[in-house]
Amino acid sequence: MNNAVAQPQTVVVLGGASDIGQAIVAELVSPALRTVVLAVRRPETLDAAALAFGDAEIVVVPFDAEAPSTHADVIDGIVDRVGDLDVVVQAFGQLGAPGLSDPVDAAMLAEVNYVGAVSSGLAVAEQLRRQGHGTLVVLSSVAGVRTRASNFVYGSTKAGQDGFATGLGHSLAGTGARVMTVRPGFVRSSMTAGMSEAPFSVDPTDVAAAVAGGLRRHRSVVWVPGILRVVMGLLRFAPDAVWRRLDR
């Protein structure tokens, strides 16, 4: 159960190898936290012994975002092992190659970022609805708010995931289960290593702090940094020519 200051006892990260996912868990460490489940594609490559989240037990389970037919079983298996899920973070996702134009590669990206988010999101939602409490934290992106020429395939997958997440949140109203959609700007992480930074860049710890704050305030959408809510609110309505010029 979450306590009154939104400190969970059990946190699950789908995409548990993600920098941002692990930073969120580190931010949620408290005397209340007992179990951290890292669901990752290749458990053998994750050095769990090198990780520590307070006194919490760390459980590593296999999870493949590209295998939607397994997602319900993965979630059920986690519940059998650790009980109620207080916070589940959907942290998996790929950026895709720069200038991605290969149809098959693009479809694979959509498979992970969107299709995987839909199937795992619904599996989590079913469990949260059953247990009558808990929050699904979905790591979306500002890239999905208005897609750009330079990464529109990625942006479109994030747009789909974002729309799914906010709609799922509405569908769960009154069930005790919640969805919090997180829209970070450019995050300096291993996924973006080597790329030139965009304005309003943040670190995984900034995203983590914003997630913890959003949980405390019962928010349904969180922008990181917060100013992006205003910036993107305006840019959404920028003329196409202006929007293209901004996309360097």
């Binding site: 159960m1 009154a4 939104a6 209340a32 009558g132 409490h133 009154g174 005790g176 305030r217 019962h218």
Partner: protein, 452 residues
């Protein structure tokens, strides 16, 4: 019976969860009803939802709300047999005009008799009269085996002391026989003192509390430095007929009048209005308006339940809600008390008026909170950054001197903190296993704190 599926929180409006809520009237109660309503995630009784945290909600399970029941006053014996779903408000409206008062009153009339027993509530008279459970002669308990049994401390002491303060985890209390206090009037004679700092407050309470039935101090936890712990101490007792005639000649015409006013209702959807500057301003005003030393005559509502005049006051904290942190430390742990007051005052968190009181003897309930010592209660906005860390630090200091936390208020402690504060927890769990072998009585709090 009315059944709905809805989201519940405690009075603090934090940590919501959804359950199937059954509103059951007193005459629909039958032993087999629990067998019918229980879910794989259990069932828990809920009164008026005034516990601050998650003690009366059950995520994904069932919640039973018992409606108002009969009130049978035996004026000769000074006792009342009352349905557990009856609120202290209804009970007072019935018994005050007949010359009786509840033996223990918390800061609100809007709690049920069942909740009062299950939380073993205390009031301003704890140092003299003990907690609510000390004034109960018998209660009826609906247990998981489908039995509806009358429990007394003589017949089944284990079940009795596991249920008094047991947070509903042994069964549903359906009725209780409660000893009342005879009163001559519905007014109180109250001595108010403005006290400039914590040390003189502690000294005055230690030396003078025994002269009063009721005593409580409202402490300003935003003031620091030389004003640290400044307070308004109010102490009093029920006015006699002679006192009423002396202080309020007009009121003496109707000595047992009881008409609690409702002044305002807080609307939905406000942001948190109790920010630190607002709290600081309020506390300052309230301290300055109090007279240095003053004797007055007050109504029951004015003295016992002032916040009841403002409906839904918990909405003042906005959507993220608030929590009430209450602990007790032994009398000799004054240094810990002082350090906690200083830490909170310097923390930057906006604690609205805090309440300090001296507890008397324990009731005997295995999970009953009151134990001799100082008890401090503070209200804090829940969304404030760093609050979890602050409270974890306070938890450690409270436990280090042998203190404990109040389950009816708790919303942030851990299983370890409760285990350390309640040495009789295992004894409680044994009784629970005896009367509830399948673990039907479950609340979110019980899940969070391993009380199962």
């Amino acid at each position: 019976m009315r059944t709905t599926h809805r989201e519940l929180t405690g009075w603090g409006r934090t940590a919501p969860s959804t359950a199937t809520v059954h509103d059951v009237s007193a005459d629909e109660l039958a032993p087999e009803i629990i067998q019918r309503l229980v879910t794989p995630r259990g069932i828990i009784a809920r009164g008026l939802g005034r516990a601050y945290g998650d003690s009366a909600q059950n995520a994904g399970g069932a919640v039973l709300r018992l409606g108002p029941g009969p009130i049978h006053l035996d004026a000769a014996a000074g006792t009342v047999r009352v349905g557990a779903g009856v609120s202290l408000d209804e009970l007072l409206r019935h018994v005050v005009p007949r010359g009786f008062f509840v033996p223990v009153s918390p800061g609100t009339r809007f709690v049920t008799v069942g909740g009062a027993v299950a939380s073993d509530i205390h009031g301003k008279n704890h140092h003299v009269d003990g907690s609510f459970g000390a004034h109960v002669e018998a209660f009826t308990l609906l247990t998981a085996d489908g039995d509806q049994r009358v429990v007394t401390p003589q017949a089944d002491p284990d079940l009795w002391w596991a249920t008094i303060g047991g947070m509903g985890l042994t069964g549903v209390i359906t009725e209780a026989i409660v000893r009342l206090l005879a009163i001559e009037t519905s007014r109180c004679i109250v001595d108010t003192e403005r006290v400039p700092n914590l040390d003189s407050l502690l000294e005055r309470m230690e030396s003078g509390d025994h002269r009063y039935r009721y005593s409580v101090a409202w402490v300003d936890l935003v003031a620091s430095g030389s004003n640290l712990g400044r307070a308004v101490l109010t102490r009093g007792d029920h006015a006699t007929s002679a006192e009423l005639a002396e202080y309020d000649a007009d009121g003496a015409a109707d000595p047992l009048a009881f008409a609690p006013p409702s002044l305002a209702k807080v609307p939905q959807g406000l942001p948190n209005l109790l920010s630190r500057p607002a709290v600081r301003a309020f506390n300052e005003l309230w301290y300055r308006k109090a007279q240095r030393e003053h004797r007055s005559i007050e109504s029951i509502t004015g003295f016992f339940h002032p916040l009841d005049m403002i409906g839904d006051w918990n909405r003042l904290y906005g959507r993220p809600g608030f929590l009430q942190y209450q602990f007790v430390v032994p009398f000799q742990a004054v240094d810990t008390l002082r350090s906690i007051v200083a830490t909170v005052a310097d923390s930057g968190h906006a604690s609205f008026l805090a309440v300090l009181k001296r507890f008397g003897a324990e009731s005997g309930g295995m999970l009953s909170f009151p134990t001799p010592g100082w008890t401090l209660t503070l209200d804090l906005p829940a969304a404030a950054p760093g609050l979890g860390e602050l409270l974890a630090d306070l938890d450690r200091r409270v436990l280090a001197v042998g203190g404990r936390h109040y389950l009816a208020k708790d919303a942030t402690t851990t299983p370890e903190v409760i285990r350390a504060g309640y040495p009789r927890l295992d004894e409680f769990l044994q009784v629970r296993r005896r009367v509830d072998p399948h673990g039907w009585w479950v609340s979110d709090q019980a899940r969070r704190l391993d009380l199962l």
